[in-house]
Subunit: 411 residues, 2 copies
């Protein structure tokens, strides 16, 4: 008998019928002899509606009140899930973040979990109760309601699984696992039966939307296996149906590349004719750091006439406006002539533990893109990933070509 | 400088625009130098939607989960109200029932308030914060979320006002006060500037919907003045604009009748040819009491032939079906021949402290109805009210005639 945490995302609890369907999956695990703790997101659309209310009251809503309001989405779905489970004969109870309590810091709308008190929940699990935790939310140190940020229910689920010492955390979602690439673009993408924490973390950070990055970090820290699987598949039960995110093992390095992530969420800023003198780069990136903006790959072209150079880098599109503002404020110090922006860029990233030991991945990547006529705007690498920035219009072409070149296409 | 509790009902916070309007009223009280604590209902329609969700999951939802789900309505409106107040320059904060805590018993969906801890709220009020309490909800003794039943936000507001030692509790609603009769039926109805707790309690219990009965009981117990006033009137400020519900004073007894309430929510049951022997009444009303059904006026016609009589009484329409069931179960013991029911009845009630000292109220009531050809089916009286049951089709005619006969028409 295992203790499982089963997390259902917003689409999986998006309607009453879907909540009932999810409850059937939980009941089935119960029949298989497992103890199950459920974590739910808000019904799809609920959070957006609530945030829309906040913004219609005031353009800059107080984050503390945003959290109090947004947390109701999960409170509703947790209650409804408990009702659906009870209807299936289980003794279920909903839990709010403050009821555990799941303690967080006071950084509203993006709080971090400090501690989860599982004493009462454990005692009730022992008595046969099924617990349904409202995801995404916690109790701040000052007694206010906090939320963990977009997708925070994944983090709630993994953190609760770790705190309870669960055997596995199942993330039920609208896809049936982690794929070698986005199957909506690459029709030959294949589902991975296993992936290491490290690779999943890179994929999530580089644009794969299937799991929230923080939840993977947390799973890696606590060595908590995560299974990603579909709520809508007809199969029941906890035999591994989706993708297991777990410790790396020897089978994982057969292929140098495990998966390809992509992101359309970045923008490129080019500062033209920047004075080529000491302290300029510090002024530019100091100003951006001051504004809390994460800067991606930086490319500097050689000095044109010994006096000016061009400087390019990426920022998240959501930060582009603030970045431009911060740079214009520093224009006098930096002395650039023009500021150009480009939102039509795509980042494509190859991820794989196998890269650590197999050379030639970068060479094959560049060759493949060159053969298709795709110009690489910038390159970024880490031990287990290589990312390139290309014009967005080449995204699909480049993804498919790379997927094939690295032997990821299904047979 | 006064400490006021201002409660806004569901219609008053039914849209974002209305929440902003309500916030303006609170801000105006602040400018007049008053400290204000706000209590809000859920946005109109929200509670019904949430209860609808519960019932679509299961026909008999667990009351504990109903409460966890329904309480989110007020959590949202409290947060939005705090945002709207902050937008108007006030330092506002929403409070959930569990955050105070407002402690209740565990009688889910109709919990009773046990204690309100106002220590932290008082300290924050002293620092100039405006508190916005989510009405309707509390924290049960076992740590679960409870709700106080339909219209419970009125009770939350009066209880909080009493606990804080407020100077007055203002109930903002969609009517501008308490009227001598329902102005939708009696166009000559006039707004009362003052009414005693006792009279308001009778009117509320007898069908006037402007205040929840329990909230008036609580106001009477703690001698907390309530003002009923409109959220939608353009006047601002706390000079008495609506109706003040307060201790009786000598001005209140000028007229024997203060107001006329009516209710279409009752049904009449007639048991025909009931055996006229000892113990029969005990069997009938014992069975109904067992089923938890409150029985109104009972009328027994004289024995027809020394062996059987007819027996009529009223029950709430919502209990009619259960009452019929309970009586049929006892038919063998009671020995009635037929059970007739009539939902087309109206109860009309004259209420006034003046009745205690002025005779002739009943006589004038019966005479007035007789002149209009309205047959009285039954009569019930207390120290300060006389109620009659009439056929529902006579409701408007009877109300208007009585309103005029007792000198309540406006000039």
């Amino acid at each position: 008998m295992a203790l499982l945490v089963a997390k259902f995302g917003g689409t999986s609890v998006g309607t009453i019928e879907r909540i009932k369907n999810a409850a059937s999956k939980v009941a089935e695990e119960g029949r298989r002899g497992h103890k199950v703790v459920v974590v739910v997101s808000a019904m799809a659309g609920a959070t957006d509606q609530l945030l829309g209310y906040c913004r219609s009251v005031t353009p800059h809503p107080n984050p503390r009140e945003i959290d109090a309001i947004a947390a109701t989405g999960e409170q509703v779905s947790a209650g409804l899930m408990a009702l659906a489970l009870e209807q299936r004969g289980l003794n279920a109870r909903s839990w709010q973040g403050w009821q555990m309590p799941l303690l967080t810091d006071n950084d509203h709308t993006k709080a971090r979990i400090l501690e989860i008190n599982t004493k009462t929940m454990k005692a009730r699990l022992e008595q046969g109760e099924v617990a349904v935790l409202a995801g995404f939310q916690g109790l701040g140190e000052d007694g206010s309601i906090t939320t963990l940020g977009r997708g925070g229910s994944d983090t709630s689920a993994v953190a609760l699984a770790a705190a309870l010492g669960a055997d596995r955390c199942d993330i039920y979602t609208d896809v049936d696992g982690v794929y070698t690439a986005d199957p909506r673009i690459v029709e030959n993408a294949t589902k991975l039966s296993k992936i290491s924490y490290e690779e999943m973390l890179e994929l999530a950070a580089l644009g794969a939307k299937v799991l929230q990055t923080r939840s993977v970090e947390m799973a890696m820290r606590y060595r908590m296996p995560i299974q990603v699987l579909s709520t809508f598949a007809n199969e029941f039960g906890s035999d591994l149906l989706g993708t297991l995110v777990t410790d790396e093992d020897e089978t994982m390095e057969n292929n140098p590349v495990t998966g390809i992530a992509h992101s359309l969420g970045e923008a490129r800023i080019t500062l033209a004719d920047v004075s080529d003198k000491p302290g300029v780069a510090a002024a530019i990136f100091g100003a951006l750091a001051q504004a809390g903006i994460n800067v991606g790959t930086i490319v500097q072209t050689g000095s044109k006439n010994g006096q000016t150079a061009d400087l390019s880098f990426t920022v998240p599109q959501s930060d582009l406006e603030r970045a431009e503002q911060a740079l214009h404020d520093e224009q006098a110090v930096v002395g650039f002539q023009h500021l150009l922006t480009d939102k039509s860029v795509a980042k494509i990233s190859l991820v794989g533990l196998g890269m650590r030991t197999r050379p030639g991945v970068a060479a094959l990547m560049f060759k493949t893109l060159a053969e298709k006529g795709v110009n690489i705007q910038s390159i970024e690498t880490s031990e287990i990933n290589i990312s390139v920035l290309v014009a967005a219009e080449y995204l699909e072409l480049a993804l498919r070509a790379l997927h094939k070149a690295f032997g990821l296409d299904k047979e």
